[in-house]
């Protein structure tokens, strides 16, 4: 089978290389660089944010490919749905495995808020977005042949500006230890406890949806969950987090999950390796002190 990588990055290139012959489609110079090593790179000069332009480029080249492979993010999911409908193709998002089998593509993805794994057998053409961290190999490297395209852009929307997001300067996806805060914290100032413990551990502070989205006590780069960030640290310590399915879905790949909650029936305990039933205001100061001593 032949695969076309859109929004090229190493994981998507590797995933595509496991399907068969592959090429990449790059919009702008940064993506051209990211696609380096792919046997064929289609280059479109233009705004990488312009989804209409990208969709047109994909539709122009897609006929020659069986599978479109992309990393999973909001723009790739938007593009994926759009081009899949045009191609009459299935679109499987956040796939964790891909296997070509007898002219079809068998993929797995989590469904129902990560309560189940669906095994899908897709006819081609098919569009896929891949879950991060599941395709970690080295793509074979070739001398890239660059083909320039200038598609007729179908405008989906006009961009009049881009604003950076308020940021706490956190890359929570990359943290090895995450101390995460939920509604158990009674006021914003109390989050200092989470920050102090994270500092003692040498980790980062995460949070559940209400803290970032509703109360806005922390910027959204701290937000862990299905609509926040999916994380995979070696230790995820959830403090005062009840464990809504959308939150759990964001932490499933953590190596060890520990939880502190005063409510023994909090769902988070079902998903934790170690659960402590205790008032966070009593135990976290003790942990800060002890972890600080441990590391000294």
């Amino acid at each position: 089978m032949k695969a076309l990588v859109v929004y090229p990055n190493k994981e998507a290139l590797y995933a595509a290389s496991t399907i068969g012959e592959y090429a990449a489609l790059a919009v702008g110079d940064a993506e051209l660089k990211a696609a380096e090593g792919a046997p064929v790179v289609y280059l479109i000069k233009g705004d990488p944010r312009d989804l209409g332009l990208r969709a047109s480029a994909v539709l122009q080249t897609a006929k020659e490919y069986d599978v479109i492979v992309m990393p999973s993010h909001k723009d790739s999911k938007t593009l994926g749905g759009y081009v899949a409908q045009r191609l009459g193709a299935p679109f499987a998002t956040d796939v964790v495995s891909i296997k070509p089998e007898g002219g079809k593509l068998t993929v797995e993805r989590y469904v129902f808020g990560n309560k189940a794994v669906a095994v899908l057998r897709l006819s081609v053409p098919a569009v896929l977005s891949i879950a991060p961290g599941k395709f970690m190999g080295e793509p074979p490297r070739a001398q890239s042949k660059v083909v320039e395209l200038s598609p007729q852009a179908a405008q989906l929307f006009r961009i009049s500006g881009v604003e950076p997001k308020a940021s706490g300067g956190v890359k929570i996806e990359e943290a090895e230890i995450i101390v995460s805060a939920g509604r158990g914290f009674k006021k914003k100032e109390d989050l200092a406890l989470a920050f102090d413990l994270a500092k003692a551990f040498g980790g980062q502070v995460g949070c559940s949806r209400p803290i970032a989205a509703d109360l806005k006590w922390l910027s959204e780069d701290h937000w862990v969950g299905l609509s926040g960030h999916k994380v995979r640290p070696k230790l995820y310590l959830a403090i005062g987090i009840s464990g809504q399915p959308q939150h759990i879905a964001g932490i499933l790949d953590s190596r060890i999950i520990a939880a502190i909650n005063s409510d023994p029936s909090a769902p988070i305990f079902q998903y934790a390796d170690y659960g402590v039933v205790e008032d966070l205001y009593k135990i976290v100061p003790i942990l800060i002190k002890k972890v600080g001593e441990l590391r000294r």
Partner: protein, 235 residues
């Protein structure tokens, strides 16, 4: 197990309904839902009741597309059915949730836009109508795009866009009298669609140790936890 699970309104759909109510002015606003889960007969009743919740919020009329040919069909079929209803009622703006909260793919709004050939905005956290245009903010991972489209358009919204209203008892009663139109594929000029090729659905086995520390003083519990974490080699 899936057959026994009751249907519910996708939480974020309530935000889409709320936004429609803000924008509709003197025009009509419709709800459309495509039934995908068996068994058909029971689900039709269930879905109708859920649509009445959207009507109670203030929508004027609802369309329910229910057909054996759609049960278990893929999302391309869902998009075609929605697009057909959009054309039937003559709507010029489609508002949807950024994604459904069960599977979170977010693919239906872009598919509907492609089907209709309309402009598309996804992940909108703020929007207003301005001189015939919609000016909006798209909420991406690391940035916010300020964008505009000229309707007709398809727009998917996030939870942050508004606070959905809770219908009053009076509105709930009034909603019982609003029309819920049931349509099959043939009435929309559509044929049966290929099934999504679901080969297997297996529950995720939670392989967590689930050790609960609940006895002792906070100090003792802290020691216990740290001891476990050291044993695991994570600290």
């Amino acid at each position: 197990m899936v057959e026994e699970t009751p249907l519910k309104i996708n939480d974020i759909d309530r935000n889409a309904v709320e936004e429609a109510l803000k924008l509709k002015g003197g025009d009509k606003a419709y709800a459309v839902s495509v039934l995908k889960w068996p068994p058909l007969q029971r689900r039709v009743q269930e879905a109708e009741n859920l649509l009445r919740e959207a009507l109670a919020m203030g929508l004027d009329e609802a369309y329910l597309v229910a057909d054996e040919g759609l049960l278990g069909a893929d999302q391309a079929a869902t998009a075609k059915a929605i697009a057909a209803v959009v054309k039937k009622v003559g709507a010029d703006l489609v508002l949807a949730a950024e994604a459904s909260i069960d599977n979170y793919t977010g693919e239906v709004p872009p598919r509907v836009a492609a089907e209709l050939g309309w402009p598309l905005l996804t992940y909108v956290r703020e929007m207003k109508a301005e001189g015939g245009k919609v000016v909006a903010k798209r909420d991406l991972e690391d940035s916010v795009e300020v964008v505009e489209v000229q309707p007709p358009a398809v727009i998917s919204v996030t939870r942050e866009i508004n606070q959905p209203r809770i219908p009053t008892l009076l509105a709930i009663r009034a909603a019982m009298k609003k029309p819920v139109n049931k349509l099959g594929l043939a009435e929309l000029g559509l044929g049966p669609e290929p099934r999504a090729e679901l080969a297997e659905l297996r529950p995720v086995v939670i392989q967590r140790k689930r050790v609960i520390i609940k006895d002792g003083t906070p100090e003792e519990k802290a020691d216990k936890l740290l001891q476990y974490l050291r044993q695991e080699g994570v600290i």
